[in-house]
Amino acid sequence: MLVLIWVLGRPIGPATFATGRFFNPFEGFWCNAAESPAPSGQLPGLKEPVEVVFDERNVPHIFARNEEDLTYMQGYLTARDRLWQMEFQVFAAGGRLTELVGRGPNDAVLNLDRQARRQGMIMGARNSREQVMQNPETRSVIQAYTRGINAFINQLDFAHLPLEYKLLNYQPEPWTELKTALLLKYMANNLSARADDIAYTNALSLWGKEVFDLLYPERPYSESPIIPEKVPPRFGRRSLNLWEFEPEPPPPPPANYHPDSLLLPSDLLNQPDRNIGSNNWAVSGKKSVTGKPLLASDPHLGLNLPSIWYEIQLNAPGVNVYGASLPGAPGVIIGFNDSIAWGVTNAGRDVMDFYRITFKDDKREEYLFEGRWMKTSQEIDTFYIKGGEVFYDTVIHTHIGPVMYDRNFGNMPVPLAVKWMAQQPSNEALTFLKLNRARNYEDYVEALTHYQCPAQNFVFASAAGDIAIWQQGKFVNKWMQQGRFVLDGARSDHLWNSYIPQAHNPHILNPERGFVSSANQHPADPTYPYYYNGSFEGYRNRRLNELLSRDSLSLEDMKAFQQDNYGLMAADVLPLLLSELDTNLQGVELQARRELEGWNYMYDADLIAPTIYQCWWDSLYASIWEDEFKAAGLPLRRPKLSTTIGLLRDSAQFRFYDNIHTPGQVEDRKTLINQSFRQAIAHLSQEMGEPQNWLWYVYKNTQVVHLARLRPFSRYQIRIGGYQHILNATSRRHGPSWRMVVALGDKPEAYGVYPGGQTGNPGSKAYDGFIDNWASGDYFKLLFMRSPEDAIGQDVKKQLFSPNNK
């Protein structure tokens, strides 16, 4: 008997459950089949009673009598629905995933963890925590939020633990203020840890400046920047400043500056996916059918379950706000109140630079800076590993930043220190706290001044009739091309020596054209007086601005634009491809050609033309670049799609068209176009059978995947159209993670939906309950309440929480 108990009490693998406990119907996984436990009526640490109305979609509407209780309840209720996710994301941010799941195949998990630490995630979170705690407003909010989460954790017994804890066999830790700071760094990492410095240095060293400039132009061949293009005056000086501020002079470029000619091999360059992006816009009352502004926001992020967003309404004296919150951070991130609405898209500017470090010797205790030897400091990072021995990683710190890649990490022959805006102290929580309470344009602008990283385009509309957009973040005042390539850590003029004044960030209030918008494109045209670089999208913005130039826009139009499936990129290049395609096609190939000729460029879920086009394009793109890029064996960035299309249009012959694996033969544009077409058709026939089966949504396979990649808790092959570079930016693993449209007015009217559900419990029907609505383009009317009595006649549940200060 004891042997049996011992066997059943042991975990059956390094990261799995113990059989006896897991299967026990009194406390094992069976207990997670029940809907969320009824929240208890008495909570320790509340000051006054709090009333919460749960609407039919289980969105909590919290009515508190003071702000501390309000945030406390937000923490408590978010934890009740999403505790595992909150903690898991923070473990990812802080490089602690190995504690939960071990090193992973080929050390993949360990490397992710090491990267997080070496990038300075914890350092940044500590710096920001300090900042948050110094400000009395954010301190009280963040402490109340933490207390609320911990009140829930303290109530938990094994039976009520979220399922994933039982599966992976661990227990939640107490929440801390640092964890909230880490969660915000998790977002900063997703949105701003993008640097092409290493890849660009490699490309420049391999191919020289002329080819480099051709492959990586700083501006796309066509664009519609966030701030409408400035028209230079017909007379007078061309160099006249067209911006309404007096710009700071740019720092002088270092004398004799040449980017390092270095080849930097590495097997470990993990970077957030480039499909992350977003749309947002606001339409002025002049153009809307309501006569008041309309606002729309849909952030495109990784599609995961539990969803990155949690819907909530927060009401207390001085605040009444509704919107999407991030589990782990207090307040609403994208939302609206009685007076204003706001949304965000990613700015995409480069705020992460790499510096080559010259150590004196192998001991790495000193490094060169301005002709002197400076002392390094060493930090030993400890990684506890589930089912394995502790791993230690020595990270060298310089005054520039931690050495991220070196001989111990990424097999980098040259040690590279990383400087990243998210490492600096900042208090983004204050921005959201103030936005939630903002009444007008001035409040909004003031709220933004506290925001540093990840830089975002904050769109704004007010019931008073204003619309505006600010690109907000802290940006370095750079010399031309500073930070595009690996910089020299021994030179002071390569450092971040001054910043662009916040008031000079690109912004516009009530523009003449009657709308403001952003879709991750360039913030401004080349007249903007400061140098910046980054990664910018080139298609959605053009389509969006074209749609928004129409008149008499309604909320229904806003929804339709968010779901617009028009493929501007296909429209840009397909006529050229078809004109170069052989005319003597037969059978399936002929059928495919006819399908494309009759296509209206719509990426609708049930069409087959987008499948043919996309497969063809991907194959053509690969045949242009992959041979040279793979052969180089170095981290390289593939040229952007818009650059590739520009090159295809401009030239029928080009050195990269030639396939280096076919000696004695020189391929040109026409060869590649025809080859890739036949390859694509053969591939589709083989994989999917007859052409009528080549449905776009089947081929694309949009999926919403559980954070721990557990297949039964994920959804695959969702029937939805759209793709990258399309307003409905639903690709395979990324897409609109929250769609919101708001009509401002005496009482805001708003609709929203996200691909998930309020509860993070995979055992609940509501876990993925909104996904089908999201896929078919339905929105829910958002219940914006002014008092708990507003819900009369609705299908709601009410709960009263009272202080329990024993």
């Binding site: 008997m1 059989t19 006896g20 299967f23 026990n24 119907p25 094992g28 808790f713 055992g763």
Partner: protein, 132 residues
């Protein structure tokens, strides 16, 4: 009758113990009952041979039914959604199969049964050893 009495006793004691103690209380309940109701070893050999299966099956059946029954009740709350997902997770299959729910319920019942059976048997054996 003796069997039924023993069976019910384990079932009821198990139910209350399991509400407050971890999974091994299934064995504990059966063990206690087995110990308490253990009989002095009879002289005739065949009686001894009968006593062991008798006490094992009483514990097994009681816990089999308790675990299986509780699992069915919990499983009803979301129509077998979660148990099918867990079955898919354990078998690593690509698609969810609703019949996985019953496999999981059976697995839970068997684990409970084994704990109860061996618990009861061990109690019986120890009781005999003491009284002998």
């Amino acid at each position: 009758m003796k069997f039924l009495f023993r069976f019910l006793l384990i079932l009821i004691l198990g139910f209350f113990l399991m509400k407050v103690l971890p999974f091994w209380s299934a064995a504990l309940a059966a063990f206690v009952v087995g110990l308490g109701l253990s009989e002095k070893r009879k002289r005739r050999m065949f009686a001894k041979k009968q006593a062991y299966p008798f006490s094992f099956w009483a514990g097994f059946l009681a816990m089999f039914l308790l675990w299986g029954g509780m699992a069915v009740i919990k499983d009803q709350q979301n129509g077998g959604l979660l148990s099918a997902k867990i079955a898919q997770l354990i078998t690593r299959s690509a698609e969810a199969d609703p019949s996985g729910s019953w496999t999981m319920i059976l697995a839970a019942a068997l684990i409970g049964g084994l704990l109860g059976g061996f618990g009861s048997l061990s109690g019986n054996l120890l009781g005999e050893a003491i009284k002998h």
